[in-house]
Symmetry: C2
């Protein structure tokens, strides 16, 4: 990293801070640092003001696959890349990182590390928890009736796709974003319990209204129209 202009840290989330500090010892004074970690608050807090040319970043793209064979051309084109610079971040470094992401087609969005972690807990970390628990149900039932394997159709395949993600990476994400993940899980348990109550009560009108509302919310979420 001695002569590098831009140092991009794409290591597992828990290793980003020590790797950045180690790299900083060898980098030149004008080097810009950035990362691609899915959690930002813990990384920003741990680095403090130690690296003003570190620009925290999270390109919101990827699949459940990992390793070199899972590389995809144009993975970031048209996708959002969230930057979370703080008051201590050098604006020139932020501009350089923004330029890099825009050059490969990403749409750069700025927000605080706290908002980033709260949003990502809901739209990304919680869906992973949901997928792990859905998979857990099938694993449990398969102990009594192994033929259940292979009976899932598209709904099961899609809702659990991200349960095939990298275990170490998701261990780190859940722990680095612990409080927001716990809050999201609590909200999720509340929504599931409300749905359970409608089913238990046989509330046909309530279920239909809820399902119709969820279809609308999802359509808005995908359009991104707000």
């Amino acid at each position: 990293v001695c002569g590098a202009d831009l140092i991009l840290l794409a290591t597992p989330p828990a290793t980003i801070v020590p790797t950045a500090l180690e790299a900083a010892k060898h980098a030149g004074p004008r080097a810009v640092f950035t990362d691609v970690g899915s959690v930002k608050g813990a990384i920003v807090s741990a680095l403090g003001g130690a690296l003003p040319r570190f620009v925290p970043a999270h390109p919101v793209a990827g699949t459940e696959k990992s390793g070199p064979a899972a590389a995809m051309r144009d993975l970031f084109r048209g996708r959002r890349c969230i930057l979370t610079p703080t008051a201590e971040t050098d604006p020139e470094a932020t501009a350089a990182v923004r330029e890099m992401w825009e050059a490969i087609g990403a749409n750069v969005v700025l927000m605080t590390p706290e908002l980033h972690d709260w949003v990502c807990a809901a739209v990304s970390h919680l869906p992973h928890a949901a997928a792990y628990a859905l998979t857990g149900i099938i694993g449990e039932l398969a102990e009594r009736w192994p033929e259940i394997y292979g009976l899932g159709a598209g709904g099961f395949t899609d809702t659990t796709r991200i349960a095939s993600s990298h275990p170490q990476m998701w261990r780190d994400i859940f722990l680095l974003n612990r409080q927001a993940v716990l809050d999201s899980l609590d909200g999720y348990l509340r929504h599931l319990s409300a749905l359970r109550a409608l089913v238990a009560a046989g509330d046909a009108a309530g279920l239909e209204a809820l399902f119709a509302r969820m279809r609308e919310v999802r359509a808005r979420a995908l359009q991104g129209t707000g």
Copy 2:
């Protein structure tokens, strides 16, 4: 339906029984009846032995879309079609329905209505509940921060795809399969609470082991190797 050899009921789940009984008044004595409903026990119970030539069926295929524009050539090719004939079902009728599904490329599987409903609660109805609740979280957060719309990446899109399903159809499915859906939801809440406890305790080894196990379970579930 007067001169029909085979009458296929593809109406919303709650209307299958009354529609079958009404059609039976006009059909010939050799007519075979079948359906495509996602719940079997409630339909079989309600019909009792009234229609021995009714063969309960559930082709396990489809998408979240509905209406004629969502039609897909080869939708059933290579997919499972579950038949749940009982002791009262005419074996000749079962053979005719099996032949129809095999002719369009489906793999026919036989099981009891009870096993069907228990399996489908886990691999299909529960994933729908999970998707509705995940969408509910986003709808709730959007009230405070509408920009959350559009920030979900592939994980959110896939885990919630089936929340865009037909509200009336899913109202019927949840209510017709009420007990199995409630049991599945209770199991799901238990798995989520166990995951929550690992996060709350900061149990890195426990989370990594769980995630690695879930990745294996999902791989087996997709391969259908048991």
